[in-house]
């Protein structure tokens, strides 16, 4: 009986960490959905966002003032990226754009440390990260307030963004731009405004993800690597699907933890580092565009 409880514990822990992965992956999906660019610099942006947030608070701004200031800064970073990096490369190949975003990642990492220094900082969100008593007593599961908050925030963001893309005029414009931006331009969709909006939203998503990860791991350089954990989620969910990100995140998180705990010890552990990626490859072999991604149509 105790074994079943332990399995449920591991499963729940996996689902909760999957939510955290999904939050990071959401930023990728946003930018890809609206500009067909795979923004490898998303991890660096998460780092810059939360580091700036903590930095502004250290400079004296209170929590609720630092929030919009940081969002404003991320919007500026996004706009600068769009103007100086993406627009000149607008007709280049996928590889070139990928490389440009990797170069951008270096720029943003260097910028973050240049502006705010290398000290490790702590982020206290005021939300307890210890198991909630009555939940643990009744069900034996370890869930903290921060976990619930993460889940709620992720749910809200995913729903809002999914609705934005499918129901609103702005969302239609975003999808049109991603499909073919010259055609979108020709029918009068304001490209610059659309891209500004996308990068602003991606900045907000990066900040939220950064705050939650930073509360758990401290605000330090390794945060840029949360992006590597989000990539399998992106593949399994599909690069263009917002709800797919959540489903894939839960799947990756849960399977990763269960495999690590139950099968890992046979290999000496540490299988978490490659298991999500191999899982993603297996998924791709069955569905090359991910679970919810748009089917890739190629004309020969």
């Amino acid at each position: 009986m105790g074994d079943i409880f332990f399995f449920v514990e591991v499963l729940v822990a996996g689902l909760l960490s999957g939510v955290m992965y999904a939050l990071v992956a959401l930023g990728f999906v946003l930018i890809y959905k609206a500009s067909s660019v795979f923004n490898f610099a998303q991890g660096a942006m998460v780092f810059l966002a939360v580091l700036s947030f903590v930095g502004f608070m250290e400079l004296g701004l209170p929590f609720w003032a630092a929030l919009p200031v940081t969002i404003g800064m991320m919007v500026l970073v996004g706009m600068a990226t769009e103007r100086f990096v993406l627009r000149p490369l607008v007709s280049q190949t996928e590889e070139t754009l990928l490389m440009a975003t990797i170069g951008l990642a270096f720029v943003i990492e260097g910028l973050a440390q240049f502006l705010w220094g290398v000290d490790v900082r702590n982020l206290d969100l005021g939300i307890h990260d210890e198991p909630i008593g009555w939940v643990m007593d009744t069900t034996g599961m370890l869930i903290s307030q921060l976990d619930i908050m993460a889940g709620v925030v992720a749910g809200i963001m995913v729903t809002a963004l999914a609705l934005l893309f499918s129901r609103t005029k702005v969302g239609r414009g975003l999808r049109a731009v991603a499909d073919d931006h010259t055609a979108a331009l020709s029918i009068g969709i304001p490209l610059k405004h659309i891209w500004m909006l996308v990068w602003a939203t991606a900045g907000v998503v990066a900040l939220v993800a950064g705050m939650l990860w930073g509360a758990r791991s401290g605000v330090q350089f390794a945060l840029v690597w949360v992006a590597l954990k989000a990539l399998p989620v992106l593949i399994i969910g599909g690069f263009t699907s917002v709800p797919g990100v959540i489903v894939a995140g839960l799947l990756v998180g849960a399977s990763e933890k269960v495999v690590e705990v139950y099968f890992g010890p046979y290999f000496g552990g540490g299988v978490e580092v490659w298991f999500p990626y191999i899982l993603a490859v297996l998924f791709l072999l069955i569905r090359p565009e991910g679970l919810f991604g748009e089917k890739i149509i190629r004309r020969v």
Binding site: A13, S17, G117, V120, N122, L123, R216, A222
Partner: protein
């Protein structure tokens, strides 16, 4: 469009110019009025360990500058240094080693201390031929503590096997004695690399001898997610966890996750490489009561640290290397200062032994001086202003480790408190020493190295 054309031409030219400029690192021998001694600094200011790197190498640089300003150098020999960024990357480290081998004043470097085990390994094969001392200050190749096999490699103050011995000793004391350890469970939670697995051979032996259960749980880097590991720790009903991580992210995550599964923080013991204020800060409120091992004690009250702060930050502002002056006196900073203090004592010893007081020395002379490092006398320690910061020890021909003792600290939420009364060693230091010498002798046999003849 003109700018496009111009840039198109400029970019390849820049690359070519870079190659030419890199060749301008050919040393020019300048006629210095004052004799100089050149030291390289292999720092890491970007990358995942930049918090550690800026602290340690800031300490080293500050001490060198302090000696110059306060004492006019070592017996009149001015200290100069050159920095090179390794980014904690073995290949960059090799390039830095080659680049800094000869300093701007034409002298060859005396010592290399890159503060990373893989980086030390990358150059360990060259140091003997290059006459450079590899000063692994508390990390690196553990069996190099046997000076008969590696005359040029040192590991003061202590190595990882002594450290794990001391941790287990502390645990045994907390439990009420070695007999009480029977049936207890100790988990070694470590980063899944060679460094993380380093203490396991010693741990397994001690577990067999004492009768406690050892569970080994690895964390895949970067370790920002440790839910499954800590759930396993809870399932195993661990009594103690020895945490061997790397990077503030892994440390912070470990502490918050431990809080989340309800594992008491005071039963977790951190390692020196990833055990400093930065790691505790990353864990936030969850870090309170965590135990951390200290090879060098933190604090600003020590006479030397206080004086450095006065001379470099208050009297001559701008001379100090730390971007954030509040980091003076933190663990990494103090470790850097002590590492540099070893260089200076080695220099003084070398000048004295080889009758070159007031003159620059070469690599072989420095090596003799380093091997003669002796901190046993309280007078010497007080002279340098570090009495109490380090244990009393000395290096010999055979023993390149020296002390093998540590203090245990506990984080109180704002700073570290020292909880051990005196420097503590492994329960059976001779046993650890035997493991080291066996491993070193095996290596010597495999590689046809003749053991040095050392007086006992």
């Amino acid at each position: 469009m003109l700018i496009h054309k111009v840039l198109r031409r400029v970019l390849p030219g820049v690359a070519a110019a870079g190659a030419l400029l890199a060749s301008a690192i050919v040393p020019t021998s300048t006629l210095a009025q004052q004799p100089e001694q050149y030291f390289p600094v292999a720092s890491m200011r970007v990358g995942p360990y930049n918090a550690m790197g800026t602290g340690i190498f800031g300490g080293v640089i500050d001490y060198l500058n302090y000696v110059n300003i306060k004492h006019g150098g070592v017996n009149g020999v001015k200290l100069v240094y050159e920095e090179c960024e390794t980014e904690y990357n073995a290949a960059r480290n090799v390039e830095c080693y080659q680049r800094l081998l000869t300093g701007p004043n034409g002298q060859k470097m005396l010592v290399w201390d890159p503060y990373g085990t893989p980086l030390a390994y990358a150059v360990i094969g060259r140091v003997a031929a290059d006459n450079v001392v590899l000063a692994q200050a508390g990390y690196g190749r553990t069996d190099a503590a046997d000076g008969r096999v590696w005359p040029w490699v040192f590991g003061a103050t202590a190595n990882y096997w002594s450290q794990i011995g001391m941790k287990l000793n502390f645990i045994a004391q907390q439990e009420g004695g070695i007999e009480k350890m029977k049936g207890k469970t100790v988990v070694h939670l470590h980063i899944d690399t060679a460094y993380g697995r380093e203490p396991l051979p010693a741990m397994r032996e001690i577990a067999k001898n004492w009768g406690f259960r050892l569970v080994e749980i690895p964390i895949a880097p970067p370790g920002l997610e440790q839910q499954s590991q800590w759930l396993q720790i809870r399932k195993e009903k661990a009594d103690w966890v020895t945490f061997w991580g790397a990077g503030a992210g892994m440390s912070g995550t470990a502490l918050t996750t431990a809080a989340r599964v309800g594992f008491p923080r005071n039963k977790i013991i951190f390692v020196t490489f990833g055990g400093a204020e930065e790691d505790m800060i990353a864990g936030g409120a969850a870090a309170k009561d965590t135990h951390v091992v200290a090879m060098v004690l933190p604090g600003k009250e020590w006479p030397l640290i206080a004086d450095i702060e006065k001379v470099l930050y208050k009297d001559n502002p701008g001379k100090g290397n730390m971007q954030n002056p509040n980091r003076v006196g933190t663990i990494y900073y103090n470790r850097g200062v002590i590492a540099a203090a070893n260089y200076i004592q080695a220099m003084k010893n070398a000048q004295r032994i080889h009758n070159k007081v007031g003159k620059p020395i070469n690599g072989a002379e420095f090596r003799d001086g380093y091997e003669a490092i002796d901190w046993r006398s309280a007078e010497t320690r007080k002279e340098y202003g570090i009495d109490g910061m380090i244990p009393p020890y000395r290096l010999t021909c055979r023993d390149h480790e020296g002390a093998g003792t540590f203090h245990m600290m506990q984080w109180d939420g704002a700073k570290f408190q020292i909880v051990t009364k005196d420097w503590m060693a492994a329960p059976d230091p001779k046993f650890i020493r035997k493991l080291i010498e066996d491993s070193a002798e095996k290596y010597a046999k495999e590689n046809n190295i003749k053991l040095r003849d050392c007086p006992e």
